[in-house]
């Protein structure tokens, strides 16, 4: 059966990783990121780096036909900061199909990643990814 919920993966929001991300995001003050800095808004995407192989929930879509349809972040409470210890956990939130404007069948998968404080287990952020698989060309 398809894996619906992945394991909780612990990680630390590292200063160097945040600076590299801020540089990639072309922030002018990327070098000012240090202990206690609030992370860039989409930094939690890089949680991908802390998941060991096989611990993510996958859309299962063909990589050549895969589109990233959308991405949403919701933050609650005190925002994640450099130095925070968190856990990340994926779950498959939804799967559905639609017919595209050109009549092709498109498959959708929504994967939610939940971020908690490692100690209190309080959920402080949620990331929601919508993936689309285009129909195979014939």
């Amino acid at each position: 059966m398809e894996k619906q919920v992945g394991p909780r993966i612990p990680f630390v929001i590292e200063e160097g990783a945040v600076r590299q991300f801020a540089l990639a995001a072309q922030m002018k003050d990327a070098w000012n990121y240090g202990p206690g800095s609030v992370i860039p808004p989409t930094f939690l995407m890089s949680a991908a780096m802390w998941f060991p192989p096989g611990s993510r929930v996958s859309s299962g879509f063909d990589r050549a036909r895969l589109l990233h349809g959308g991405q949403e972040f919701v933050f609650g409470g005190d925002p994640p900061r450099v130095g925070d210890r968190l856990t990340a956990q994926d779950r498959l939130a939804d799967r559905f199909e639609k017919t595209g404007t050109t009549g092709g069948r498109m498959r959708f998968a929504v994967v939610v990643t939940e971020f908690r404080r490692a100690e209190s287990e309080e959920i402080i952020a949620e990331s929601r990814a919508t993936y689309i698989e285009r129909e195979a060309r014939t």
Binding site: A24, A25, M27, M45, A47, H68, G69, G70, E72, F75
Partner: protein, 139 residues
């Protein structure tokens, strides 16, 4: 700057997009889908060339949001990817205030956001964000 509903934020421009910028984002995010930097793989998947990660555009927009609201904290940030971003595209991040609501110790500003790519003025990303601005901030 005084914000009101309908206020437009200063357009933030990025680019032109280079392969280096795409590879740098791949390294920083851990997203190594080779469709974004391996021309042969992109062509075999039916694309004319490599194209930037959607999340690279989203990260650049995130930078614009942080610059628009220094010291504020992002509560929600949601985007939809509308079109590919190609090498040498220039990206313009735009924002318009759609709501301002008082909250504990400050206000929450809702903005509608978008990214367009030139040449062609293509809309490549649309979305919205909510930002909490503490009382006494200069925003």
């Amino acid at each position: 700057m005084t914000l009101d509903v309908g206020s437009t934020l200063v357009v933030r421009e990025f680019g032109p997009v280079t392969l280096e910028a795409i590879v740098r984002y791949a390294g920083a995010s851990g997203d190594f889908n080779s469709i974004h930097y391996d021309e042969k793989f992109a062509e075999s998947a039916g694309y004319p060339a490599v194209f930037a990660q959607g999340m690279m555009q989203a990260a650049l927009l995130g930078t614009a949001v942080v610059e628009w609201f220094p010291g504020a904290s992002v509560r929600t940030f949601g985007v939809r990817f509308r079109d590919q971003v190609w090498l040498n595209d220039t990206l313009c991040c735009r924002g318009t205030v759609t709501a301002i609501e008082p909250t504990d110790g400050g206000s929450v500003v809702t903005i509608e956001v978008g990214v367009t790519a030139t040449p062609g003025e293509r809309v490549v990303l649309t979305g919205a964000a909510e930002i909490k601005i503490p009382d006494g901030s200069t925003n």
